[in-house]
């Protein structure tokens, strides 16, 4: 294990997350499997502990997400041949044994981080609804979500700890920079060629469409919680996320970095610092749409009928603000570049 400061902080966070996730799994299993033998007051008390665990796991997931990238960035000077985080993620590529699994492990950890934050947020949303309803009808759903969060967190802890423990020194990197890697794969394109033309208008159109859609959803009580509306919003949000990802890699990175052949998201965030805020706003908007759908689908019960629509409306409002903020920041950045 590397002895740098971020590795130590990361290791400490893993310990905390392992403890909290283990308790969440045990608590979830006990509540779901042995609820008939427990009294209502005991189950009620357990729900407070469950909520505290959900908040704790949400905070830890967010912290470990940020620390992961600071940690990978701190590995760059320690890894000969790595130009940026991309190079660090390629350490062990093609190597035999456990070292050869390092790229797969780090890719899995990078995917699991946002998924965990989303699931932790969904648990908190279900807890709010459960608390406001004042009846036990939503408790099994809330506890099931907590159990899922615990399992996901444990999986992430195992993967990240393994990544930290596998020695990375003296491991050769085939490609430490994404530009030559893309050159070898013949995939790189300068800005303004081939299919890149359609991306900027589609990116801004998708964002404006999302803002309009969610703004109108946030103003209409009947429409906001309707099932077809939730499906449309979720599908539109998924398309927007895909278009935004393509836009960031193929347009924003080369233009803002002033490197026409450099399609690297890691370098974009590392060099154009404010793009981290814009990407955060995009994810916030996407997560809010997802959480609204969780509330609409998993939080629906006769006890939540009275206040479900206003709660979902609040998520629509937060979501359009995120989309608008993100696209506005990239528009200003591209205009100044």
């Amino acid at each position: 294990m590397s002895g740098n400061g971020y590795a130590v902080i990361g290791g400490f966070l893993e310990l905390l997350r392992f403890g909290a996730a283990s308790i969440a799994v045990v608590l979830g299993l006990r509540t779901l499997c042995f609820s008939s033998s427990a009294s209502q007051s005991r189950l009620e008390n357990r729900s407070y502990l469950s909520a505290l665990l959900a908040y704790l796991l949400l905070g830890l997931a967010l912290a470990s997400w940020i620390v992961l990238y600071l940690l990978l960035d701190s590995f760059v000077p320690e890894s000969p041949g790595a130009m940026c985080i991309y190079g660090v993620t390629r350490i062990g590529d093609g190597s035999p044994g456990l070292t050869g699994w390092l790229p797969t492990l780090i890719a899995a950890v990078q995917v699991m981080k946002p998924v965990q934050v989303f699931v932790a947020g969904a648990v908190v949303v279900l807890y709010w609804l459960y608390r406001r309803a004042g009846t036990p009808s939503l408790r099994p759903r809330f506890v099931t979500a907590l159990l899922l969060l615990g399992i996901l967190s444990l999986g992430d802890v195992v993967a990240e700890t393994t990544y930290l423990l596998v020695p990375k020194r003296d491991v050769a990197i085939n490609t430490g920079c994404c530009s030559p890697a893309a050159a070898e794969a013949h995939t790189t394109q300068p800005v303004g060629t081939a299919d890149a033309h359609w991306l900027p208008p589609v990116y801004f159109a998708c964002h404006l469409l999302m803002v309009g859609l969610l703004w109108s959803g946030g103003r209409s009580t009947e429409m906001s919680a309707a099932a077809p509306w939730l499906i449309v919003a979720l599908a539109a949000s998924a398309v927007t996320l895909y278009v935004a990802a393509r836009f960031l890699v193929d347009i924003a990175a080369p233009v803002l970095l002033h490197l026409p052949y450099h399609h690297c998201l890691y370098d974009l965030v590392g060099t154009v610092k404010e793009s981290a805020v814009a990407i955060g706003l995009l994810l916030w908007g996407t997560f809010c749409v997802g959480w609204a759908c969780v509330a609409g689908w998993c939080g629906r019960s006769p006890d939540t009928q009275a206040f479900l629509a206003p709660e979902i409306q609040r998520f629509w409002t937060w979501a359009w603000m995120g989309y608008l903020g993100s696209s506005a920041m990239f528009a200003v950045d591209l205009w100044l570049a």
Binding site: G81, T175, C177, S179, Y261, T271
Partner: protein
Amino acid sequence: MAGVTRQRFWLTLILGGLTVVGLPILGTWCRRHRLPRCDLDGAPIEPIYAVQIVDAGGVKHEFCCILCAEFWLKQQTAASREVRVTDEVSGQPITADDAYFVRSATFTNQATGNRVHTFQERRDAEQHAHDHFGHLLEGPERPFSTDLPAEPLPSARRALRSMRM
């Protein structure tokens, strides 16, 4: 009550607007004094390995190594006016046509895997080739002599690894 809500809405709007407009302006302002970096991958340029290409429009492009410069050149549709490389002994820029190139076991840039070194004098090139297990590049092997890059990075890596084994 309605007045307070409206006031809060406008305050949020103004603060949010200032943030989304102000941060990019501040970021761009902070980045205006950038050190010389490679026009292909953004890596800092070591002065003794710098390569400069003057394109058809007369615009100068700086690169951190020969591989980056060749890759960039390959993407251009119009022929370049001039390619200048740096003599590793004196640090002086020389035209690519007058330079001696040596591919040795020593990397100039670990990230791209470039192992081609540049010299103004033939004896310096031969000395480097002798000291660093390399050979002088001649004919079509010379960088910037064909449209294709001399050697893509990953294969160079693999070759070096097999040499060590």
